[in-house]
């Protein structure tokens, strides 16, 4: 078991964003986290990524307790993450962006550069290596973020709505990229709104609603689950689904 989160709870000034959420991820899986807006999946995600410290519960990665470990140690241990709103280093070149990631495992500039160029090749950004990150559009920035994280050689990659805001053809390209990364042996946890992406990519899905995990299983099972339909569409539709 690569990642295990047990009974993770996160409160903000009286409001419970995440309540006793569990998640286990085996090495090599692609797991999806879905749920309506405000369901707590991003907060949970940020707890796992080390950005937020949970109020209760435990998170273990490769046997090591990382519940209260800072984000920096997460990366060193092999957890990488992208941001919902791309946080690329705007004024730095695309190559330099990825080199920052590469410097985690490679200490010399030459080695980091080589690694970065490899990653740019894999993610299709090599031709733009010398341009500044701010010259990219949103899809490019999202791709750059993925490349940057990939350069840190993660064992687990947490993708936070990496495909939101993309056109259908860009989505196809992004799905292909995620598959390529998966083939390299990286375990992936993806938070996503777009059903098509989850159905295509995820082997297993967890559904969040109001801070709790209300369903988990194979994508096809989960979307037929009345509890899930109720969470997204309300009780009426769930009743209708049950009648079918």
């Amino acid at each position: 078991m690569l990642l295990s989160a047990e009974k993770v709870t996160k409160r903000f000034a009286g409001f419970t964003a995440v309540a006793e959420a569990d998640l286990t991820v085996e090495e090599g899986e692609i797991v999806g986290l879905i749920g309506p807006n405000g369901a707590g999946k991003s907060t949970f995600f940020n707890c796992v990524a080390g950005d937020l410290a949970p109020n209760a519960g435990r998170i273990r990665f490769a046997g090591i307790d990382v519940t209260h470990a800072p984000a920096e140690s997460h990366a060193r241990l092999g957890i990488g993450r992208t941001f919902q709103v791309p946080a690329t280093f705007e004024d730095m070149t695309i190559l330099d962006n990825v080199m920052v990631g590469a410097f985690l495992r490679h200490h010399s500039r030459a080695a980091a550069r080589t690694k970065a160029l490899q990653v740019l090749e894999l993610t299709g950004l090599k031709d733009q290596a010398g341009l500044r990150a701010k010259s990219l559009g949103t899809p490019g920035r999202k791709r750059l973020e993925i490349a940057r994280v990939l350069a840190t050689e993660p064992r687990l990659m947490l993708l936070d709505e990496a495909l939101a805001g993309l056109t259908p053809s860009e989505i196809q390209r992004a799905i292909a990229l995620v598959r390529d990364i998966h083939k390299l042996g990286v375990t992936i946890v993806i938070v996503e709104h777009i059903m098509e992406v989850i159905l295509t990519l995820a082997e297993r899905v967890l559904v969040f609603n109001q801070g709790r995990v209300i369903a988990s299983g194979k994508p096809q099972e989960v979307i037929d689950d009345p509890a899930v339909i109720e969470a997204y569409l309300g009780r009426g539709h769930a009743r209708a689904a049950r009648r079918e």
Partner: protein, 323 residues
């Protein structure tokens, strides 16, 4: 490009030998001194993006300690230089360690508070000369007292120190530390997620910056032979470093030098034209320049140059490749 660099280096080397008027030689030395302290500030303020508005504390330490050793214990002022650097490193830790884990504003506020705190204490401490200040050797037969009648030896010493500082900065820029500092400046949260040890690297940058700023203060003390709370620890000392670096371009190697070359002669000129009132006007203008830079071109002249000369790139994505 390489020829330009060579020409520039030769120009700097030959300057005091060509312009032999003592006024110009002195001005040259002052330009270099300003470039040194601004380049030192640049390491933490430019590359790491942590805005210190109290760097005078390091400069003041560098100026006061050598003169203190001389005035009270008749020791060679040169011995005070490493002592001042040690003190500055200590101050850097006191200020940086608690604040570098918080939002950037805290660091800036803390630098202002500590610099002002030190200035008030020094202004009232007899040992350190209180409001009058300290004096160094007037004329000394010993070379290590660094008292020269002409500005020329100072010019070359400053040039050597500047060259050393720029070399160190360049080396840092190309290293893992340099890339990570730039990442910290560009986006701390993202940098953390990539494993950059943010707090530790900010401290490294601040300590390196503090050491060289202290050295600049020491050089100032050697040249003028005198320091008081205003010239060593006043807010205007900090302001001078910031504006020189910001005008030229923070986070660039030669930005601070460019800023110094432009601003110091300008300041000398306004002081001469306007006499005593010139100083007051100068700082109104400085304030205005800083506001304009912040508002319109935070990257300074280097960024402006880059923008004007960069090839036109379209914002649309590059040709598609199979992922």
């Amino acid at each position: 490009m390489r020829w330009g660099l060579l020409a520039l280096t030769l120009a700097f080397l030959a300057y005091p030998l060509i312009l032999t008027n003592p006024f110009y030689q002195d001005a040259g030395a002052l330009v270099l001194l300003a470039a040194i302290s601004a380049s030192a500030w640049n390491i933490v303020g430019g590359y790491a993006g942590q805005i210190s508005v109290g760097h005078a504390m390091f400069y003041g330490a560098g100026a006061y300690l050598p003169l203190l050793l001389y005035q009270h214990w008749h020791l060679p002022p040169l011995l005070g230089v490493p002592l001042a650097i040690a003190v500055s490193l200590g101050l850097a830790l006191v200020v940086g360690f608690p604040t570098f884990r918080l939002q950037g504003h805290y660091f800036s506020m803390a630098t202002l508070a500590v610099a002002e705190l030190i200035r008030i204490v020094v202004s009232n401490w007899e040992l350190l000369g209180a409001a009058i200040g300290l004096q160094g050797p007037a004329v000394s037969p010993n070379w290590w007292d660094l008292t020269f009648r002409s500005a020329v030896p100072y010019y070359y010493i400053f040039l050597a120190v500047l060259a050393l500082l720029l070399a160190v900065t360049w080396y840092m820029e190309q290293s893992r530390l340099g890339y990570c500092l730039r990442a910290i400046r560009a986006g701390e949260r993202a940098a953390k997620s990539l494993g950059v040890p943010v707090r530790r690297y900010k401290l490294y940058a601040l300590m390196l910056s503090a050491a060289f700023t202290s050295l600049a203060g020491s050089l100032y003390a050697f040249k003028t032979g005198f320091v008081d709370p205003d010239s060593g620890l006043g807010i205007l000392v900090s302001v001078q470093m910031i504006i020189v670096a910001a005008l030229g371009g923070t986070g660039t190697l030669v930005g601070p030098l460019l800023g110094a070359v432009i601003l110091v002669p300008l300041q000398t000129a306004t002081n001469t034209w306007f006499g005593g009132g010139g100083a007051g006007l100068t700082f109104i203008v400085y304030g205005g320049i800083i506001v304009l830079i912040a508002r319109f071109e935070p990257g300074g002249l280097m960024e402006l140059w880059h923008r004007l000369t960069a090839p036109r790139t379209r914002r649309s994505p590059a040709p598609r490749h199979a992922a």
